[in-house]
C-alpha cells in the first residue's frame, strides 16, 4: 500500500469506521433492551428501532463535524494537501453513510425477528421512502441517502466555520439547511402537504429521494471543498 | 569553547596548528573528520571544512580520498619555522623596543636572558598561547 492509499483507507484515524460500527451495534442492543423495558411497563405497538434511527442522523453528522477541525491541521502539517484531505473526507462520508445504513437495515431485520418471537406488531409510524422495514434494499438506500446528506451538509457547515474569516460559517449554515431539509423530507416525510401530493408516485418516491439527495450531497461536498481548498492553517497561539 | 577573538573556522585552524607545533599531532597522523569536528564543537560541518581547506592550502594537512585528513609530514617543521619567524617579529622586536622606550639597556636584557637560560636548563615548553592573534 502506498502512503496515499494507506492515508485514505485509514482516514482520519485507523479503525474509526470499525469503532463507529461497534457503537452502532451497541446502540441497537440498547434499543432492544429498552424495548423489553417498555414491554414490561406497557405495550410495544410499533417499531422502536425506527425511533432509534432518528439519533443515527445526528450520529452520522457528529463524526464529520468532529473530524474536520480535529484533523485538517495535523494532516496538512504532515504534508497532505487540502485536496487529498477533502477527497478522503468524501470517501469517509460515503463509507460512513453506507456503514450506518447497513447497520440500520440489519437492525430492522433483527428487530422483525425479535418482534415476531415476542409477538409484538412490527409497524412503522412515519412515512418513509421505503415500503416495508424488511425490504432491505430500499431501506438501505433510503437511510444511506439520509446519512449521506446529513454528513455532507455537516462537512460543508463545519468547513464554513473552520474557515471563519468572512463569516463563511454563517453563510454555510442556511445554505446547509436549505440543502438538507428537502432531501431529508424526501426520504422521510412528516412534512408539508404539498410535498405529499407531489410525492403520490408510489414506488417513484425512492426515485425522487435519489434525485434530491444525491445532488444535495454533491453540492454540499463541493461547498466544503470550495471553503477548504486554500484555507490557512493558523497557529494555535498567536505567532511571536 | 570558542571565544570572540576570531571567526570559528580560524580558531579551529589555529588549534590544529598548535597541536602540530606541540607534537600532539604528528606527521601522517589522521585528524578528526570535518563531521567529527562539527559534532564535537557543535558547529556546521561547512565551517569545519573551511578550516580544513585553509590548512590544506597551507600545506599543513593533506587529504586521502575516501579515508580522511592527515597531517603533512613536513607540517611540524614548517610551522616551527614560521613560529620562529613570528616569534622574533612579534615578541622579541617589540620587547626590545619597549625596553628601549622604558630606558632599560639591552645589555641588561641580554644578561637577564642568559640567567634564564642557565636556570631553565634544556626545558622546552611549547607555545600554547591561545590568546595570540591568528595568522
Amino acid at each position: 500500500m502506498t502512503p496515499r492509499t494507506r492515508t485514505i483507507a485509514g482516514f482520519p484515524v485507523p479503525g474509526l469506521l470499525a469503532f463507529i460500527g461497534l457503537i452502532g451495534v451497541g446502540y441497537f442492543v440498547v434499543v432492544m433492551l429498552a424495548t423489553v423495558g417498555i414491554a414490561t411497563w406497557g405495550d410495544v405497538s410499533t417499531s422502536t428501532w425506527e425511533q432509534g434511527t432518528e439519533l443515527a442522523r445526528l450520529f452520522a453528522l457528529f463524526w464529520v463535524v468532529w473530524l474536520i477541525p480535529t484533523y485538517l491541521a495535523p494532516y496538512v502539517a504532515h504534508g497532505v494537501t487540502r485536496r487529498e484531505f477533502v477527497a478522503s473526507t468524501v470517501v469517509f462520508v460515503v463509507a460512513e453513510a453506507a456503514l450506518l445504513a447497513a447497520l440500520v437495515t440489519a437492525g430492522y431485520l433483527v428487530e422483525r425477528l425479535v418482534f415476531e418471537a415476542a409477538d409484538w406488531p412490527h409497524v412503522l409510524t412515519d412515512d418513509h421512502a421505503f415500503g416495508s422495514p424488511t425490504h432491505a434494499a430500499t431501506v438501505f438506500v433510503s437511510y444511506g441517502l439520509t446519512f449521506l446528506v446529513w454528513a455532507s451538509v455537516g462537512a460543508m457547515v463545519t468547513a464554513g466555520f473552520y474557515r471563519h474569516e468572512g463569516g463563511w460559517g454563517l453563510v454555510a449554515l442556511p445554505v446547509g439547511i436549505l440543502l438538507l431539509v428537502p432531501s431529508d423530507l424526501a426520504v422521510d416525510s412528516g412534512g408539508p402537504p404539498f410535498l405529499e401530493a407531489f410525492l403520490d408516485l408510489g414506488g417513484g418516491r425512492l426515485g425522487l429521494a435519489l434525485l434530491l439527495c444525491l445532488p444535495s450531497a454533491a453540492l454540499a461536498l463541493a461547498g466544503a471543498w470550495a471553503l477548504l481548498r486554500d484555507v490557512p492553517i493558523r497557529s494555535k497561539t498567536p505567532a511571536a | 569553547m570558542f571565544d570572540d577573538h576570531s571567526p570559528i573556522y580560524r580558531q579551529i585552524a589555529e588549534r590544529i596548528r598548535t597541536d602540530v607545533l606541540n607534537g600532539v599531532l604528528v606527521g601522517d597522523e589522521q585528524v578528526m573528520s570535518t563531521n567529527q569536528y562539527a559534532a564535537f564543537y557543535r558547529i556546521n560541518p561547512a565551517t569545519a571544512a573551511k578550516a580544513f581547506q585553509q590548512l590544506v592550502d597551507e600545506g599543513i594537512l593533506y587529504k586521502k580520498r575516501g579515508i580522511g585528513m592527515f597531517v603533512s609530514p613536513q607540517a611540524g617543521a614548517h610551522l616551527r619555522e614560521r613560529h620562529r619567524d613570528r616569534f622574533f617579529a612579534d615578541v622579541v622586536a617589540p620587547m626590545a623596543a619597549e625596553a628601549r622606550a622604558v630606558g632599560i639597556p639591552l645589555a641588561d636584557v641580554i644578561a637577564h636572558l642568559r640567567q634564564l637560560d642557565r636556570d631553565g636548563g634544556s626545558e622546552t615548553t611549547g607555545g600554547t598561547d591561545d590568546g595570540r592573534q591568528p595568522a
Binding site: 502512503p3 496515499r4 494507506r6 492515508t7 485509514g10 484515524v13 485507523p14 480535529t70 484533523y71 491541521a73 495535523p74 494532516y75 496538512v76 502539517a77 504532515h78 504534508g79 497532505v80 494537501t81 487540502r82 485536496r83 487529498e84 481548498r229 486554500d230 490557512p232 492553517i233 497557529s235 494555535k236 497561539t237 505567532a239 511571536a240 | 570558542f2 570572540d4 577573538h5 576570531s6 571567526p7 570559528i8 573556522y9 563531521n35 562539527a38 559534532a39 564543537y41 557543535r42 558547529i43 556546521n44 560541518p45 561547512a46 565551517t47 573551511k50 592573534q133
Partner: protein, 306 residues
C-alpha cells in the same frame, strides 16, 4: 538529492498589514540555513508559506523547482515544526501522535523517534495537552527530525526547552544533518546560541530581506575595536559605527567594516584590540529602525540570490 528553495516577488498581506514585502530569496539545498529577525519581521509567515500552511497574496514559491501550495509532490517532502504543535492534538497521547506521523510520513524513522523521546524524557502514555511546554517543544522537534523530510524547518521550536534540552536538540540536528543531508531552515531568537549551526544566514526585517549571506561572510563584515578612547576615535573615523561602549578611558566601538592587513597592523601598534562582532551584535544593530546602517553589501547580496 537535496531540494532548493526559490522565492520570487513574494507578498503577503493580511488586509491592511503587509507581513512580507517583495521577498526574493534563494536557499541552496543540503544546507542548514538560519532565519533571524525581530518579532513581527515575518519569519513565521515566510515559513508558513514555504510549508503550504498559507497561500501568498502574490509571488512564486518553489521547492525543487516546483510550486509548493497544494502540490502533493512537494508538500509530502516538507515539514514545518512550530512550537504550537500543529501536528498533534491535545487529546491524543504522545504515542498516538507518533503513530499518526509514521502513517503519513514515508521517510519516518521510528527508531530515531524512540531514541529522541527517550533522550528528551517525553512520557509516551501522557496526553499531549498534559505535557509541559518543554516536553511539547521536545515532541515537536522529535517529530521534525524523525520525519526526515528533505526540507525540514523549525520555527522557534526550541523556545520552550531548557538549556540542556536545547543543546541536545542542536546535537541531534547536526548529527542527523550529517548522516542524512537535507535542507534545514531554523528560525530563532537565540541567535548566538544557534548560529554556529548555520551555514548561511538570512535576516528578515519588517517583511523584507535585509541580508542573505554565508555566516562567515556576514560575521566578517563587522569588527569590534577596543582600546584607549582617543586611539579608537582616530581609528574608526570615517567608518560606519553601529554602536559603542565607554568605560572610563576605554572605548569599544562596533564598526560595520572589515579591516585589511595594513589597518590591523596600525591597530596592533596603537594598542587597539580588534575582534569580531557576534551575529547577535550585528543583528541587533542592523535591524535598528533608526540606524541608517542599511549595509551597502546587503542589497547586492539580495540581488545575487537570483
Amino acid at each position: 538529492m537535496t531540494l532548493d528553495i526559490e522565492i520570487d516577488d513574494l507578498h503577503l498581506r493580511y488586509g491592511e498589514l503587509t507581513a512580507l514585502d517583495d521577498v526574493r530569496l534563494r536557499l541552496d539545498g543540503g544546507k542548514i540555513h538560519g532565519l533571524i529577525g525581530r518579532n513581527g519581521a515575518g519569519k513565521s509567515s515566510l515559513l508558513a508559506i514555504l510549508a503550504a500552511f498559507r497561500k501568498p497574496t502574490s509571488g512564486t514559491v518553489r521547492i525543487g523547482g516546483q510550486p509548493v501550495f497544494e502540490n502533493p509532490e512537494i508538500t509530502h517532502q516538507v515539514c514545518l515544526v512550530r512550537s504550537t504543535g500543529d501536528t498533534v492534538e491535545d487529546d491524543d497521547k504522545v504515542e498516538e501522535a507518533l503513530r499518526f506521523a509514521e502513517r503519513l510520513r514515508p521517510a519516518w524513522d521510528a527508531e530515531l523517534a524512540a531514541r529522541l523521546v527517550d533522550r528528551f524524557h517525553i512520557p509516551l502514555r501522557h496526553a499531549i495537552g498534559k505535557l509541559s511546554l518543554g516536553q511539547r517543544c521536545a515532541l515537536g522537534v522529535t517529530i521534525g527530525l524523525a520525519t526526515r523530510a528533505p526540507v525540514t524547518m523549525f520555527d522557534e521550536s526550541h523556545l520552550g526547552m531548557d538549556a540542556p534540552s536545547r543543546y541536545a536538540f542542536y546535537d541531534e540536528l547536526l548529527a542527523d544533518f550529517m548522516a542524512h543531508p537535507r535542507t534545514f531552515v531554523v528560525s530563532t531568537h537565540l541567535i548566538d546560541e544557534v548560529s554556529p549551526l548555520f551555514e548561511e544566514v538570512t535576516i528578515l526585517d519588517r517583511g523584507r530581506i535585509l541580508v542573505h549571506e554565508p555566516l562567515d561572510t556576514l560575521l566578517a563584515r563587522g569588527t569590534a575595536v577596543t582600546g584607549p578612547a582617543a586611539a579608537v576615535d582616530r581609528f574608526v573615523d570615517g567608518f560606519d559605527v553601529l554602536a559603542e561602549k565607554r568605560l572610563g578611558g576605554t572605548r569599544s566601538a562596533m564598526v560595520y567594516a572589515a579591516f585589511d592587513e595594513g589597518r590591523r597592523r596600525w591597530a596592533a601598534e596603537a594598542g587597539l584590540e580588534l575582534g569580531p562582532l557576534s551575529l547577535q551584535d550585528l543583528f541587533v544593530h542592523l535591524t535598528q529602525p533608526t540606524e541608517p546602517a542599511e549595509p551597502a553589501g546587503s542589497t547586492s547580496a539580495a540581488e545575487e540570490d537570483a
